[in-house]
């Protein structure tokens, strides 16, 4: 288990992190979301040891993280960086060696990953000759090639085409299924919702919500009741505390709280009920509410 505990960091007068903490289980995919400047990158840099926290700690399996642990991590920084003039295969292989792999293992892992990420045709090209999306694939390969024990990826999906997004999603699912904790940040909340087991929402350097996605969506007071009624007279829902929108002869009523049965009876009296049920908020809705 990877634990981030009460991280604090300031840059001059600016407080970037003000007590950030969360935990990621082995085999869990953790989505890290938050507005621009909320502190995601800063947190991940501290996890990777390229930035020092003012206080707080990152722990793995119950003990403080060491340099040796980090050497087995895989990291994709927000600001991508590769040797522009080095070719794809050499580059991936070099990084796997830096992460401690033997020469033969490095070569095999590099070949496999190049294949998997669809870079076979570009394996001998210099990085500078690749399109941005392909450079990103190489960046990803560099983060993955040494079969890391923990994956920390800062906005890995930005700049990828839909096919590449799917390919990356598959790779990440694979890795997490093999027992690796995966943390990634993203602004694509639908993607996070689809991929992640749990999420953490950070706002202005503080965690405002975190936990399994299902729990967050189900939790008390978050779900709304949605009723669709056909042929009702205008003003039928005036007595209820909800909002009505009209759409092609249908009234859609959304109510945040109230007595379900009472609302159903009112709706049945007013017209033909086509839909009635509680709707869980999307991650985007939870996010907006949490960050507001």
């Amino acid at each position: 288990m990877l634990e981030v505990q009460d991280l604090r960091k300031r840059f001059g007068d600016k407080v970037a992190l003000d007590g950030v903490g969360f935990a990621v289980q082995p085999g869990e995919m953790f989505g890290f979301v938050g507005a621009n400047g909320a502190g995601k990158t800063t947190t991940m840099r501290i996890v990777m040891g390229v930035l020092q926290a003012d206080s707080g700690e990152v722990r793995i399996e119950g003990r403080a993280l060491t340099g040796e642990d980090r050497r087995r991590f895989g990291y994709m920084p927000e600001e991508r960086g590769l040797y522009q003039k080095m070719n794809v295969a050499d580059q991936i292989e070099y990084f796997s060696r830096l992460h401690g792999m033997s020469a033969t293992a490095a070569r095999a892992a590099t070949a496999e990953l190049i294949e998997r990420l669809g870079l076979t045709e570009r394996r001998a090209s210099a990085v500078e000759a690749l399109s941005l999306g392909n450079q990103q694939r190489v960046q990803l390969a560099v983060a993955l090639v040494h079969s890391p024990s923990v994956l920390v990826l800062d906005e890995p999906f930005s700049g990828l085409d839909p096919l590449a997004v799917d390919a990356l999603a598959e790779v990440l699912k694979d890795r997490s299924a093999s027992g690796v904790p995966v943390i990634f940040s993203s602004h694509q909340l639908d993607l996070v919702e689809r991929l992640c087991d749990s999420v953490g929402i950070i706002s202005a350097g503080r965690m405002v919500a975190s936990g399994p996605v299902d729990e967050l969506r189900d939790s008390e007071g978050r779900s709304v009741l949605k009723v669709v009624v056909r042929g009702a007279a205008p003003g039928w829902a005036d007595g209820l505390r909800g909002q009505v929108t009209t759409d092609g002869g249908r009234d859609v009523l959304t109510v945040e709280d109230g007595d379900d049965q009472e609302i159903l009876r009112t709706a049945v009296r007013a017209g033909t009920v086509e839909q009635f049920g509680r709707q869980r908020p999307t991650l985007a809705e939870i996010f907006r509410e949490a960050v507001a």
Binding site: L51, R70, Y75, P77, G81, M86, F95, L98
Partner: protein
């Protein structure tokens, strides 16, 4: 350590294939070879051709006599360039333009000797004895001057590559993933070791080319004894000087995030190197001077002044030992301070990091 060597290996593999490295190898080797041939061009021909009318004198070293029937024929040979001078009836010398001084002396001498011998007098020529220093002085000064240029060129060129590499990694942000995998000192050290190895290869090529050219031109006979010592000393001093200046280069380079800022941030280092070059040049010309003696002890000047001074003249072993000891201390200090600056500054992209801030 393994990681450091991995980093060094990448530096070597990528740089050794670049055109700029090959060009620098070729240019420095050509420079040395060219300079080795210069004395030959300046020293005139090995044998002179002299047209003779009348009796042919006894054989003289370095002169080939060719008989001609009369003065007109001899003059024609002169004009046609077939002879350097003409000796007419053992009484006058004719030449096109000015008579070569050495040839004149040789002929004059031969003439006198023949006359003296025929009068029955026997003169034992004076024995010449010179000290070892004086005997090779010219060659030693030449070698020393050449060394100054080669060392300066290689030092500044290798150090610049270190600085450029550091900035490249910083500006491309690759340093962030590198430092997630390796310690800063491994990166710092690997770069210095890798590019230093290339510098040594280059130095080896230069020395090899120089010696090969010297033996091709016959200059080898004029080389002072202890040439091996001079070569080994030069290599060792190059290593020390390189370690010193490249650590400075890496540290200063880590302060900036763009190649365009590199020149200005490196000014203290390049100034120090140029100063070292100038005093070393001075030491080559005047190896016995006080300036040369003092600065061949003081680091980092000693890194260039000492090898140059030892090439130019004999230097007491104690002085060399003291100088080397001080330089090693200076190198260690600069490496430690440099690694510290690098460690603090290399991840701070954006505005130029202040040196004082990085050292604190």
């Amino acid at each position: 350590m393994n990681t450091l060597l991995l980093v060094a290996g990448r530096e070597i593999r990528t740089r050794i294939r670049t055109r700029s490295f090959i060009i620098s190898l070729a240019v420095s080797a050509l420079l040395v070879v060219g300079l080795a041939f210069v004395p030959k061009f300046l020293s005139g021909p090995d044998t002179y051709k002299v047209a003779v009318v009348g009796p042919t004198p006894a054989a003289v070293e370095n002169i080939a006599f060719t008989p001609y029937p009369d003065e007109a024929a001899a003059r024609a040979a002169l004009a046609g360039g077939d002879a350097d001078a003409a000796l007419i009836d053992d009484r006058k010398i004719v030449s096109e333009g000015e008579l070569d001084q050495r040839l004149g002396l040789l002929l004059e001498n031969a003439h006198r000797e023949a006359k003296i011998k025929s009068s029955g007098l026997v003169i034992t020529p004076l024995q010449v004895e010179t000290g070892a220093d004086a005997q090779y002085e010219g060659v030693r000064t030449g070698i020393a001057t050449l060394l100054v240029m080669v060392l300066f060129f290689l030092l500044i060129y290798s150090a610049m590559y270190v600085a450029m590499g550091v900035v490249e990694e910083k500006s491309s942000r690759i340093v962030e993933i590198l430092l997630a995998a390796v310690r800063p000192w491994q990166l710092f050290g690997g770069k210095i070791v890798g590019l230093g190895t290339l510098g040594l290869i280059n130095l080896g090529v230069v020395i090899g080319a120089g010696l090969a050219a010297a033996s091709a031109t016959g200059l080898v006979a004029d080389l002072p004894p202890g040439m091996t010592g001079i070569v080994i000393g030069t290599v060792l001093w190059f290593v020390l000087g390189y370690a010193f200046f490249s650590a400075l280069a890496a540290a200063f380079g880590s302060l900036v995030s763009r190649q365009e800022e590199l020149n200005s941030v490196l000014t203290p280092m390049t100034t120090l190197m140029t100063l070292t070059y100038l005093v070393a040049y001075f030491a080559a010309v005047e190896p016995m001077g006080t300036l040369a003696r003092v600065l061949s002890i003081v680091p980092p000047f000693s890194s260039m002044v000492m090898p140059v001074r030892s090439a130019a003249t004999e230097v007491p072993v104690a002085e060399i030992a003291l100088s080397a000891g001080l330089m090693v201390v200076a190198v260690v200090a600069v490496l430690l301070a440099g690694a510290r600056v690098y460690n603090r500054a290399v991840l701070r992209t954006g505005a130029r990091v202040k040196l004082a801030e990085a050292l604190r």
